[in-house]
Symmetry: C2
Subunit: 322 residues, 2 copies
C-alpha cells in the first residue's frame, strides 16, 4: 500500500535516464554521477518559498518551469552545461491536479536542456521548493564573478525590466492593458535560462552572472568580487518590449533595478566584441554592450549624452559607502 | 550596508576551504568541484520541516547537527566519503542567537567529517532546512539497495529503538526517568552517521541503507529493489541501552519499527562474516547479525525459538500484500 507521499513520487519518478554519466538515479540513499574527465562540476541551489518568490495561487505549470529555470540560469551564468538536479518539495497537501501541472512544467524545461532529475525528498509542510542543480564546464573555463578586468566591455543578454513591469501591475503600482500584462508576465513566470549563450561565451567572456535581483545590485557583485568599478550608459540598457511603451523614468528605473528577468550580465575584452556578437547570433540571443569596467570602485551611471545620473535607491547604498 | 539576510550569510561563510577538490565555494552563481579521477559522486538531499521532522522549539545546536547528520547518513549508506554540501535555509526571522547555535552544531559535525559548505540560499519563510550533500566512492564500489542476494546475512550497526523511546516520552506515550530520557534523546537529536563503517564495508557488504523510518520499512526497500525476501530473528535485534530496560513487547516493537536511529542495515555474503566483524572493530562500531536474505519475497519475523511472529502495523502492508 502506498502512502500519500509515495504517490507524489510517482509524478517525478517516471522517466528512464539514458545518460552514461548518471550511474544511479532516484530510489537509493544517494544518486551516483560519473563525472566526465576534464570537466568541473558546477553546483547551485535555490529555495523558492510561497508568498515570497511566487504568489500563493501561482499557476503550478509555470511554477514548475520557474523553479528549474532559476537554477538553470545559475549554470548559464557559469558557462556550464546542465546535467542533473535534485528536487526537495514541501507540500501542504498531495493535490494530484497541482502535482501533475507542476511536474509537467518542470519536466518540459528539464527535457529541453537534457537535465535529469536524479533524487529528491518530499514532505508535508508549507509550500517550499528547493532544487539543487549540477552542470559541467571544462576545467578552468567557468565564467566567474571575480574575473572582470579594467577596460573590459559590459554586456547584457536579451532585455530587462518586463518582469518587474508585470510585478508592478500585479501589485497595482501601475496599469497595463491585458495583452501587455500577458506578455510582460511571461517574462516574470517563465524566464528563459541563457544556457546556450553561457556555453558560447566560454573563452570569450571574463566574468558573468545572471540578473535575478536587478542589474545594479547584481553587477555590484561582479564589481565587489573583481575589485573594480563600472560605467553604465543607462539609456543603452536593452529595455523589454513592453517596458519600451513606458515613460523614460520608469524605463530607466525598471531596467536598472528590476529583478526576475534572468538575463546574463557579462564582461569581455574590447577585442572580443565581434566574438561576443557572433556568440549571440549563434544562440539567437540578442546581446547589448552597455558600459565598461573602470578602476574607480563604484557604479557610475550616465545618460545618453554622457552626463552623470544618480538614483535614490537603497540598492545603491553599497556603492555610496565605497 | 548589509541586509538582514546578508548578515545571516556571515554565520555560514566564515571558513576557508583547504581542499583541492573544491575549486570554488560560496559567493558565485555556482560552486565548482574538481571530481577525483576514478571516483563516482554520491548525491543526496533531505528537507527538514519544523513540526514534522523536529519540534518547533528544538535546540538550535542539535538541529544544526541533525540536519547534516541525516544527510551524512545517506553517504554512509552508500559507502561514500563526505566531500561537500549546500544549505538552503528558510527562516521566519534572523535571530542571531539561534543562527550562532545552529551554525555551531552544523559546522562541528561538518568539520569532523571534512565536509565543506560550498553554497546555499537563505530566504524569509517558515522554518525549513534543505541540505544537499556530496561524497565520493570508488567507481562501482557503492553499496546499493538493489544488490542483496539470497543466502546473504543481514547486519545492523549500533543499536535500535532508543530514538523512538525518546519520541514516545516526548509524546507522553510512556514515561522515562530524567537520566534515561537524556540518554535516549541523545540518539534522537544527535544521531551518529556511520561514515567510517560505510567506507570500511566497501567490497565486503553487498546492499546497504540507513534506518531512518524503522528497520521493517527500510529493510523493505532493500528487499523490493533486490527482489528478495528476508528472515529476521526479532530477539537478535541490537536493542538500545535504554530500551533494554523496557518490557519485551516494547523492545520488539521499537527496535523493529522505531525510526531516527540512523544505523546502517546491510547484507553481506556468509563467507564475509569475519571481514564484517573486523570492519566494525576497526571503526569501533558494534555490528550484529540479525537474519538472512531468502528467496520468498516477504519479511519473516522469528522469535528466539525460531517461531514465526506477526505484527499488526501499517508498515507491514507492503509485505502483507505481496
Amino acid at each position: 500500500m502506498l502512502s500519500e507521499f509515495d504517490l507524489i513520487k510517482q509524478y517525478f519518478d517516471h522517466t528512464q535516464i539514458n545518460d552514461a554519466r548518471i550511474a544511479l538515479g532516484i530510489g537509493d540513499d544517494c544518486a551516483l554521477i560519473n563525472p566526465t574527465a576534464g570537466m568541473q562540476l558546477a553546483i547551485s541551489t535555490d529555495m523558492l518559498v510561497s508568498g515570497r518568490h511566487f504568489f500563493p495561487d501561482a499557476d503550478a505549470f509555470m511554477l514548475g518551469h520557474k523553479s528549474l529555470a532559476v537554477n538553470l540560469s545559475d549554470l548559464a551564468a557559469m558557462g556550464a552545461r546542465p546535467l542533473a538536479f535534485t528536487l526537495a518539495l514541501s507540500l501542504p497537501e498531495a493535490n494530484p491536479t497541482w502535482l501533475a501541472a507542476f511536474s509537467r512544467g518542470l519536466f518540459s524545461l528539464a527535457k529541453q536542456h537534457d537535465c535529469h532529475l536524479i533524487g529528491g525528498d518530499t514532505t508535508k509542510g508549507p509550500l517550499n521548493i528547493c532544487i539543487t542543480i549540477f552542470g559541467e564546464v571544462p576545467f578552468g573555463m567557468a565564467l566567474r564573478r571575480d574575473a572582470a578586468k579594467v577596460g573590459e566591455d559590459i554586456w547584457i543578454s536579451g532585455s530587462l525590466g518586463d518582469a518587474r513591469l508585470a510585478l508592478g501591475a500585479y501589485r497595482y503600482e501601475l496599469h497595463l492593458s491585458e495583452s501587455m500584462l500577458t506578455s510582460a508576465a511571461q517574462r516574470l513566470h517563465q524566464p528563459t535560462p541563457r544556457i546556450d549563450l553561457g556555453i558560447a561565451l566560454r573563452g570569450i567572456a571574463s566574468a558573468a552572472l545572471d540578473i535575478s535581483d536587478g542589474l545594479s545590485g547584481d553587477l555590484g557583485h561582479i564589481l565587489e568580487r573583481s575589485q573594480v568599478g563600472a560605467k553604465i550608459c543607462l539609456d543603452d540598457l536593452p529595455v523589454g518590449v513592453i517596458l519600451r511603451s513606458q515613460d523614460l523614468a520608469r524605463r530607466r528605473e525598471f531596467s536598472l533595478f528590476g529583478g526576475d528577468d534572468y538575463e546574463l550580465c557579462f564582461t569581455a575584452p574590447k577585442e572580443k566584441r565581434e566574438a561576443v556578437i557572433a556568440a549571440g547570433l549563434a544562440c539567437q540571443t540578442h546581446v547589448t554592450r552597455v558600459g565598461e569596467i573602470v578602476e574607480q570602485p563604484e557604479l557610475q551611471l550616465l545618460d545618453a549624452l554622457g552626463q552623470n545620473l544618480t538614483f535614490d535607491d537603497t540598492s545603491f547604498d553599497h556603492f555610496r559607502s565605497s
